[in-house]
Symmetry: C2
Subunit: 339 residues, 2 copies
């Protein structure tokens, strides 16, 4: 039932002029008679002519579309980054195509292929937690498509990167706990082959080392995912140890919330008996009881900067050679879940 859209040729035919004249009239070409222009514009208006961007893309060999690959969007973290991206890209003449990898390497491969086929002009990506091979991103680059990696690093991939100093965030958090007198600080870490997981773990370890605190293997537990339910079992495991921790540094706010939940259920007092510290500073985090101490990340800025870098490459095709690496500093936000 699809009506044929009005094309430039339709208008040309009706007005007994050539399609090129119509095209020129619509673009206000200086060397056209006023009457012709007016007639074309009037009819275009009347018939509600809409230019076919597909034809233009094919002609110009660029789709004016940017692909954004993220693991998921239900967390505030990625949805806020995307909002930042959108706010920047929306002001340009590019569109964004948001793609969800569902934390799956397989799906990520398929998405990259699809974006390639769609003649996407550039890609912003935060790899899935399964991804540890980045050839699919290199393939994009080989096809002349600039790639900007954000939040989760792709070690070994040469590309623009907008990251957060997770190491520093973790270090600050753990050293703070130490300063406040915590002696047994446990860590609920993220899925293993994620750059952020490693950096936060290292920050945790180095903070302990620097302060001559013992590192206990059993105090480091990695959770399988990023949601509340993923934190319950690991938290219980920690509390049931012979030498249970007096503080927990969790890989994100969701997991921290799970840990608080478990601690409360077990009758532990927060922060008197157990300090809990998260990562991300989600909007809800200041509404829990006790309010959650956490590490804030500039999510919106991460999105904006990533988009800006990509757009700058898209404008000047020349300086593709030097890649930028921008690292945001996270900030400790102390509330009431820690001593």
């Amino acid at each position: 039932m699809k009506k044929n859209r009005v094309t430039i040729t339709d208008i040309a035919r009706e007005l007994n002029i050539s399609p090129s004249t119509v095209s020129r009239a619509l673009k206000d070409h200086p060397a056209l008679k006023r009457e012709t222009k007016d007639a074309v514009k009037a009819l275009a208006e009347k018939w509600d002519y809409q230019p076919n961007l597909l034809a233009l893309s094919l002609l110009n060999r660029k789709s004016n579309t940017i692909g954004v690959i993220v693991p998921e969007i239900t967390s505030h973290f990625f949805s806020a980054i995307i909002t930042g991206i959108q706010d920047v890209v929306g002001k340009s003449d590019y569109n964004i195509m948001i793609c969800l990898s569902n934390e799956s390497y397989e799906e990520e491969l398929i998405l990259v292929k699809k974006l390639l086929n769609m003649q996407i002009d550039g890609v912003l990506v935060s790899p899935s937690s399964e991804t540890d091979d980045f050839d699919h991103f290199r393939k994009l680059q080989k096809n002349g498509i600039p790639v900007v990696v954000f939040d989760r690093d792709c070690p070994g991939l040469e590309a623009d990167k907008v990251l957060v100093d997770d190491y520093s965030g973790a270090f600050q958090a753990v050293e703070y706990l130490i300063d406040r007198g915590c002696k047994n600080i446990a860590h609920l870490g993220g899925p293993l082959n994620l750059s952020t997981t490693g950096h936060r773990l290292n920050g945790y370890l180095d903070a302990l080392r620097k302060n001559n605190m013992p590192i206990r293997r059993e105090h480091i537990v990695h959770v399988p995912g990023f949601s509340h339910k993923d934190g319950i079992k690991p938290a219980k495991k920690l509390f049931q140890l012979d030498n249970p921790p007096d503080a927990i540094f969790a890989m994100n706010d969701n997991i921290a919330i799970s840990a608080m939940h478990v601690a409360k259920k077990m009758g532990l007092k927060i922060p008197e008996e157990i300090s809990i510290l998260g990562f991300d500073d989600e909007p809800h985090s200041s509404f829990f009881t006790p309010t959650l101490s956490t590490v804030w990340q500039p999510v919106y800025s991460i999105g904006m900067l990533s988009a800006r870098i990509l757009l700058s490459h898209l404008k000047n095709k020349d300086n593709q050679l030097k890649f930028r690496k921008e690292i945001f500093k996270p900030e400790l936000v102390i509330r009431n879940s820690s001593k």
Copy 2:
């Protein structure tokens, strides 16, 4: 620096055959010599040929892309709906283009125009809270683009609709509060010209009426937005009344959380002195103290069904005439923030 991608013509030239043969070989046309097919496929593989979807779209006059217009994605509500949409559409040969209106009518207009120009094949939309004129959606339909409206209704627009029975959700919630002995039930309502706001307000009012409870104008306050901060002032306003409420039915969980926050600060005991009930059942809601009673909506299903309906229209171009209207039943989830 964009390298020219390999085209069907490149392969044809190399193999001294015609582009059409290459095209056929790639599609396993039955009437082709095995050798030719193999040679083409081998070279396509070797050169990593990628079909240009843009050219195909132009040829077929369909982009295989579905536009999704939502007010925002930072809330769990919309991001979960989108995840549902993606999970369905991802299994088809369509892609989705997610567009954020930022709750702005103006931006929504621009987005619709852009989607039209991009030759989008179908649209899934939840209108902005400012939108009360739907001609831009009718324009899509006039161009043969099926439109499915989800969650927020567009009164007067004839289109497929996937909604939630907000009235029933609100009615259940308020009647529950009445059953539990609440005498002064206030309502923190949403922005005014939103269908959901109206339906929830009506559910609230009817529950009061049915139970012969007085309706107090001053107990109905509309919040300006959907986030925590938007609820603080309105909640304070309610508590400072001469006859403060003993229960609050809030338009969403965020606002309910704000109200809990304010109540606690004022030293009110929840639920003994004040019952609080939200709407949405966000993942965090069972982790607040007290855990939040709320109305659950099948967010993921809303997304999936909307996508399925749109896809079915896209497959069979015929039955565009009768529009479906699907209404999900929300469910009351009682936790500890209500008596």
